[in-house]
Symmetry: none
Amino acid sequence: MKPEKRRQQILDCAKKLFSTNGYYSTQISDIIREADIARGTVYQYFSNKDDIFITLLEDYYQKWQAMMTDWAEKVPLATISPREYLRERIFINLQFFAQDADLCNILLRMGLGLPGHLDSVSRRFEERILAVTVNDLKLGLHNGHISPKLDLNLAAHLFTGALLQAAYAYFGRNADIQEPVDMERAADQIAGIFAGGIFV
Amino acid sequence: MKPEKRRQQILDCAKKLFSTNGYYSTQISDIIREADIARGTVYQYFSNKDDIFITLLEDYYQKWQAMMTDWAEKVPLATISPREYLRERIFINLQFFAQDADLCNILLRMGLGLPGHLDSVSRRFEERILAVTVNDLKLGLHNGHISPKLDLNLAAHLFTGALLQAAYAYFGRNADIQEPVDMERAADQIAGIFAGGIFV
Amino acid sequence: MKPEKRRQQILDCAKKLFSTNGYYSTQISDIIREADIARGTVYQYFSNKDDIFITLLEDYYQKWQAMMTDWAEKVPLATISPREYLRERIFINLQFFAQDADLCNILLRMGLGLPGHLDSVSRRFEERILAVTVNDLKLGLHNGHISPKLDLNLAAHLFTGALLQAAYAYFGRNADIQEPVDMERAADQIAGIFAGGIFV
Amino acid sequence: MKPEKRRQQILDCAKKLFSTNGYYSTQISDIIREADIARGTVYQYFSNKDDIFITLLEDYYQKWQAMMTDWAEKVPLATISPREYLRERIFINLQFFAQDADLCNILLRMGLGLPGHLDSVSRRFEERILAVTVNDLKLGLHNGHISPKLDLNLAAHLFTGALLQAAYAYFGRNADIQEPVDMERAADQIAGIFAGGIFV
DNA sequence: TATGAATGAGTATTCATTCAT
DNA sequence: GATGAATGAATACTCATTCAT
């Protein structure tokens, strides 16, 4: 089998198991059973268990960043209203998290509370999402769409917390909201709730 | 030493360590060193490590519930406006989480992603907060303060996610927002952001 | 059982096994089987396998040093002839190594050729024996008992190599010389061989 | 590449690595990296890791034996004095060990203390050197050059131990004696030290 | 012959829990 | 109640060796 394929196979199995059972309750034994490979094979592709976990999160982070960059280039900033911009931003993020329930799960629940070096990887993701949001709010303030009285940092936390919670509720394993998601409508709703409180 | 005091001492030390290092990176050895007691003593008061963790979260949950019940009895529902009600609700919750950075940390970060029986304890807390919020929203809908078009469940998730994220950012260990918190102002801001999008 | 006794018990079993099978072929499993204790017990007294090995060698080294210091204080330097001094020195060393075949074995054979941090421990022992010998020779040169033409460093290596080889041949496991050793006679012989070549 | 050359290449790399890091700390991975060949290729030429190690020592032993036989044929036993004979014997051995620091190292340090089947290979070498020496001494005794009071076996051990220690000190890796070796002078010194004690 | 991905038996180490004192 | 020495199941990781290509 091609190395790259084998590597991906391990990542896929690990992803599923980490998402279902958490980091510590997922044993290397579980991964090799799931992937139907030998013990040593895992260590041909990853230096240790941490490495698998970190790789999963890093890859997911890269994808998210690529998605955001891509969107930022396409969005017609000149013609779009702040409210439409907000709505689009919510939408693409929901869309992104909807793609992979397991990674959504790992990122939004699992990563947090892990010891040091693992925790920091998922924390970085969260920090980045926050930073992007703060940036957007600053731009809105500069353009006069946002009241100077708004605490931008707090608002970013609220928005991020709300968005990730929604993503997890919709798309995570054991999702709280089980009905098939109408993401267009969800984005409308979320934008509707925040627009009134954020824009002048 | 009085039994009850010894028990509390163990809980206090465990709380600090769980909050700092997470569940798996906190060993019984760490707890007994911190509490300066013998290994076996822990098992006089708790049946196992899980029991300590669960006790911490359950106690915290009980306190939160008591606080909420207490407040519900005192709040002058007849005279208060929906917006003021929202603002007060935010305020008392911020106040609650502000009391204990360690438990705030454990609840909002650590508990999530732990295997089965531990995860479910912190999940229950979260679910309860959600349920209370959904209830309030239903009441608001019934009283005509909220548009029938609002997705109550989604709104509750957004609100809860935002509130907990803010609580963690303000009060958790390694809090993102370091300045001394003016909770009155924070409650105003949060209420301000959500009021516009939620109330008709 | 008293901790110190248990610790010694582990050292004794490990000594025997290391001496018989070498460092790498001695498993922790072998040690606990031999000592009839549980797996974890080893790690209550030693941080790892290396630690046991190093402790054995360090203790042996300490004993040797104490023996040498002790002897140096007692030997009547003023009245003894160089040749008698040499003979005594050989004798006490033979006597020392005769006490413990296993440690003799570990030091003189096993330690050599182990990776880095383990090797250095036994190397230190060897270096010390050499240094003591060089010192003695220098003293002899200063007092006019030794020809200035003698290469002191080389002579020390020859003497040390010969002495340790003899010790190992007499006392090591699988000793080459099996008859019960008459150490007095052996010391006479060794002194006899070296005296002629070393003293003027 | 010619098969024989490939085989030699593996032996050369293994020799260097064994000498530097010891038997257990030298991995097959290290050897193939050093030799820049594929994993499986090693097993085309050697049946396993032991085989490489044993081959190195056996080859070295063969060379030594050839050298000794060669010398025995050339040495003018009829005209040479016992002391000159001793001196020559020391010289050719020093010369032999000087040729290859790595093999000198492996033989004199590494081999010892390895488990069973590996240990015995290097032990055989040592035993052979001893046997040759005992033989020589017996001949000397028979010819009246050596006192009947000398313990031949012990003397052989002393001489061999001294000689090998000197060889290692001069030629082994991390040699204790760093100056460029004047082997003629060294042989004179060693012969000088032993002659007085051995010959009548 | 040469390759290198795959193998899996082997091993040190951890750590929650027990129980005799 | 309190102690802490002893326990042993559990687990990550290693590395010589194989074999299909």
